[in-house]
Symmetry: C2
């Protein structure tokens, strides 16, 4: 990716031992940051938006084990200002051009009592603040461990928040909407949610991205950018003073991080606006990540895929496992001598059906889960060598499927479910990626179900954070894209490693077959989980009544049309059409939208947005005069207003509108939909009723087509 540096002015001013505040404003002047040292040498910062306080004076720094206060006793040493204005181009994205325009304040501190040095770099964009700590190389501080990062975010009041309970192992809780003061009374019941790995924070804490709304109408989003070699940050909640503070994910010995000087922390991000749409339009987190580190990105491409997947959740009896023998031992058990269970879905013939369907309807790829040895006895945590990542089951013919898929112009997506036996996965990892390269795979879905082995680690601690990135780098070596599930939530690293194409890292569609998702779920996720990067939400469920398959009584939380709209509202360059293909064959007119919709974009227009209520987004297909619109609502029906002024002026287009039917309702009549076509221009404003938990999806193409 080329970077065009438009402006880069550096101001320097050395200020020694002065306690007065340093100030930085955003390029547009709306945001203002103050930084100063308190009398005891504690660094503090505050943030204002259009003259209103967003973050009150909040402390910064660290506790270094064993109990060295590295958050006070500083004297200011040096402050340097700079401004940068550049445009860069993501390999895949919501925008072809992303502008990075920020002002920077770089503060170099020293703690005279220890001689230790700490730098803080602030960057103020028009849409928010990012700051990080930097540990310069220094003689008296070299390798140390963290007891805690002491960063505070002192809020101005009892904001409405969209929160997940603090947990070191999962982001798969449903999001709860409440005031901050109400979290304490709600958190225990939220934690009852059955999840494969849960490790509660010992105190009251919530996770990031944390979306909030103040009583005076400010939208505030706190997260982090560029999480590399550091634990994920959760936020302690002091619900008396509405003070959030950093709570790094520890290892099981209680150590929160191992630092070598010459390194930096992730960026702490505060995105602010009085218009919720600006939150979704923000590229602040991507801008704080480093430019692409891959020299060749020609092999990275958007992926729309189907897969041997949903049938495992419907209750129809498909199994990942090949046999019923749970006493298998990887490397010893000869599967060709095992009795097949008759329900193994990832068999050659069945996968060919998926390949045929994908080829017929223009999908790029077929995900196949359950192809490899080990699923019979994938007991989490008590067993370490669970899977082989290079040995297929006897009924999965790797070579034949490679040949067949290639002939049809379709890729097979590899699946590496680790069941969180991560050290064992790392042992096999290079062989696994070599196996992929040898057999025509260019993408892998990874999975981390259950608690982590090594047993000192949590999903979101520093060790695992390093692991996920290690996988992305190893994949890049073998020109493979990674779609990680149950990994730490993203922080914009897809800019730097664009082959890390998508993640799950939140409650996805699979939960529609368990305890369910709420109608407001996907109106929140873009404000929370998706702030850090694309989500493989796996939408596209047409048959939402799972009782048609068997004993599972689960009901989808949306109308069918809302499922279509999610392809636009839930950004990902990797999108699944998750339902059984037989269901798509029943609704070919609605399926048309899934076939048509793009997954990589020139531009994105956030038309309407209110977290927890509704989202309407339009996007222009990358390199094409073609637009797609998706609108969704929560449990309340509403009228979406789709202002098409983003279209080029003076030209007419054909819009195909996929709308909830008049009687549509997610509870009673989810599959009632109406498809209509009309001519539109940049002056058109479509008004479209959305059913309870309904949606609208629109494709817009030149009339000539």
């Amino acid at each position: 990716m080329k970077q065009l540096i438009l402006t880069c002015v550096i101001f320097c001013c050395g200020i020694f031992g002065v306690l007065k505040a340093e100030n930085l404003t955003s390029p547009d002047g709306n945001l203002s940051l103050d930084f100063r040292l308190l009398e005891d040498g504690t660094p503090v910062y505050s943030l204002q938006y259009k003259g209103r306080s967003v973050i009150k004076y909040s402390e910064m720094g660290f506790l270094i084990r064993p109990d060295y206060a590295f958050d006070k006793g500083f004297r200011k040493m040096f402050v340097r200002y700079a401004e940068t204005d550049t445009v860069w181009h993501p390999v895949l994205g919501q925008y072809r051009d992303i502008r990075d325009h920020h002002k920077e304040m770089f503060v170099m501190l020293e703690q005279p009592s220890t001689g230790w040095k700490l730098n803080i770099r602030f960057r103020l964009f028009n849409d928010g603040l990012g700051f990080r700590y930097e540990f310069p190389v220094q003689e008296s501080l070299r390798n140390f461990s963290l007891k805690e990062e002491m960063t505070e975010f002192r809020l101005t009041g009892d904001h409405k928040a969209f929160w997940l309970p603090g947990d070191y192992d999962t982001q798969e809780y449903p999001t709860t909407t409440s005031r901050l003061s109400e979290v304490v009374s709600l958190v225990d019941s939220v934690r009852l949610e059955p999840l494969a790995a849960k490790s509660f924070t010992p105190n009251l804490a919530v996770q990031t991205p944390l979306m909030m709304k103040s009583d005076d109408g400010l939208y505030i989003n706190i997260h982090e950018a560029a999480l590399v070699d550091y634990p994920a940050m959760q936020l302690n909640l002091d619900d008396k003073n509405f003070c959030l503070s950093s709570h790094l994910v520890p290892d099981k010995n209680g150590i929160k991080g191992f630092i070598q000087t010459g390194s930096v922390t992730p960026w702490r991000t505060v995105i602010v606006s009085d218009d919720a749409r600006d939150i979704l339009a923000s590229n602040l987190i991507l801008n704080l990540n480093e430019p692409c580190k891959l020299e060749d990105t020609s092999w990275i491409h958007p992926v729309k895929y189907v897969g041997v997947w949903w049938e495992y959740f419907t209750g129809q009896g498909s199994t990942w496992a090949y046999t019923k023998n749970q006493d298998i031992v990887i490397g010893k058990t000869d599967y060709t001598k095992e009795i097949p269970n008759g329900t193994h879905a990832a068999n050659t013939a069945h996968v060919k059906e998926y390949i045929d369907f994908a080829a017929k309807h223009g999908f790029d790829a077929v995900l196949v889960e359950g192809w490899n040895e080990g699923w019979e006895a994938n007991f989490a945590y008590v067993k370490e060598h669970i899977y082989s990542f290079t040995k297929p089951y006897p009924d999965f013919d790797v070579e034949e499927l490679h040949r067949y898929a290639a002939e049809k112009g379709v890729k097979i997506i590899m699946h590496h479910e680790t069941t969180s036996s991560v050290a064992d996965y790392e042992r096999q990892m290079e062989d696994a990626f070599r196996f992929m390269a040898d057999n025509g795979y260019d993408a892998v879905k990874t999975g981390y179900v259950g608690p982590i082995i090594p047993r000192s680690e949590y999903h979101d601690g520093q060790w695992m954070v390093n692991h996920y990135l290690r996988v992305a780098k190893m994949a890049a070596k073998y020109k493979a894209m990674v779609n990680s599930h149950e990994a730490v939530r993203p922080t914009g690293l897809c800019r730097t490693y664009p082959n890390w194409i998508a993640q799950e890292s939140a409650r996805g569609t699979e939960f529609e077959s368990f305890e369910g998702n709420r109608p407001d779920h996907t109106t929140i996720l873009p404000f929370t989980r998706l702030m850090g990067g694309p989500m493989d939400y796996t939408p596209g469920i047409f048959e939402g009544d799972l009782s048609v398959y068997g004993p599972n009584k689960a009901q989808l939380s949306t109308t069918l049309v809302k499922q279509l709209a999610l392809y636009v509202t839930m950004y990902s360059p990797l999108q699944m059409a998750a339902d059984l293909y037989t269901n798509y064959e029943k609704y070919p007119d609605a399926f048309r939208f899934i076939k048509d919709v793009a997954v990589d974009w020139d531009n994105t227009y956030i038309l309407e947005a209110e977290p927890g209520d509704y989202i309407t987004i339009a996007r222009k297909t990358k390199g094409k005069d073609e637009w797609f619109v998706g609108g969704i609502t929560d449990e309340n029906s509403r009228e979406a207003e789709i202002d098409l002024s983003f279209l080029p002026e003076g030209k007419s287009y054909e819009a195909v509108i996929y709308a909830d039917g008049k009687k549509a309702d997610w509870r009673t009549n989810p599959k009632d939909y109406v498809i209509s076509t009309r001519k539109v221009t940049s002056k058109t404003v479509l008004k479209q009723r959305l059913a309870p938990s309904g949606g609208v999806a629109v494709s817009i193409r030149p009339l000539s087509r």
Copy 2:
């Protein structure tokens, strides 16, 4: 290796619900084992030697997490008897032929309350008992974790014991000799010993191999054999009842093992005799290990080596590190741009000097420590990616040294110090062994200094036990021998994986440069550490006064001749001549013994032995009419009686006798030695005075030579 099955008779008898004792005797009838179930269904065993009690009725079984008693409530189901008498041939060893003659009792138990099944296999040899638990595949018990193994060893009295304090991370303590009742008053001071990684057992416990002597003159050795996929066993000490009980090394979460049924535990071994020499002569532990699993062993060979090693300990200033920059980052730092520190020992020119010396004096190999990137900042535990195992320092020319060594007929021994960053080593391991194969290395010394990463693990827990074996297997794949330092103490696995040629796993010669070894140290180790397998003790220090090099005031704990004798008394097919070669050049006549002595044997004769006091051993060189004798004593001088009746009758031989000089004393005059030559026959009995902490070394060859 060929196995000749001489006898194998199987008796079967099914006995249901009967509480009477089952009995097994050793082939020679000296040992007798009873097994029965107590009224509450607790399995117990006892052991007698020549009618004297060795182990009183002692309980067996497990506690399975969370708190399932799997040590009572059994009813006896089935008992099967067998006898085996075979001879096998180790690839390298103290004996060309090893006889495995034992009687076996196999007990199948079931716990009616749970339906769980547990088998116990007892093997009684003439020199002791082995038993192990076996977990058969069963429907209701598949994967489980261990809270504890409940095996007891109820002793008959307050035996004299040679003990190390219970510790999960190290066997490098000096051995303490005391009665069992005195351990409690001594253990705290022993634990003060400064070691790189220490993790005390929370309760009073000692390590195995535990050597004991009863007041009525029985020598009892407790250890284990075939430690695979299971934690090492330490022994809780109940010093009121003189009851030892299994204390498995846990992980840091307190879980002691993860078991999948269809597996077996290591063997618990009790070697017994009224003659201490029988303990040293025992092959029981090897016999309980599985036969060699490597198809091709032609590449495994004995190794006598020198190395770039002792100079790091002498205080003369040699460094493993290449630069003084401790802020290096592996993979980022360009060492060619770093300033050399001028003291880096593993440089091409200096290594060539060692190669020249090795070639001149007939050594097989040269160990080179400090050849690879990372030593400047090898901070244990706080840093994970410490070393590269494939990138040499700029002044270590891998290709040129490969060429030079090959030309001289010498091998270079690879060094993989992991500083216990084990997950990171595993990531690099296959590349590291491929690098070795590509560059002519056929042996590696591994190291595990400091606490383990993953941080859930201890050196001797199940996870690390699996790691060490994984290294041996990976090495075998690349036809490399392994000499592991700071790994879990051996349990005879060198039979099964003969490329795992030696280990340190105890307090070796390096401690002579730190806090020192005691004069009795090497009279104990063969009864403790060496019971499980060869030790790379690295003897051969001629210049024992380290103050000649610099500020280090350490003094060697032996005479020079005792250093020679160790090549015979401390069995290892891999032996180092550890001193600086310049010191050998000063004493060419004494050095002659190190050059001559064999390291692989046809036969071994334990001539004299009393743990903690003295050992005299003779050995016949493999495939040659040539014998070597080594005798050592503790701080007391003594007269060794070397009965040469092992020599073939009727032939005369020339013996070269390396003896302490008249004024020799380890404290005052360690380098006083006398070399004499005399004719000997099988009727000769040499009487030789050994100085305080002195020794005697003899080489015996046909007169014609």
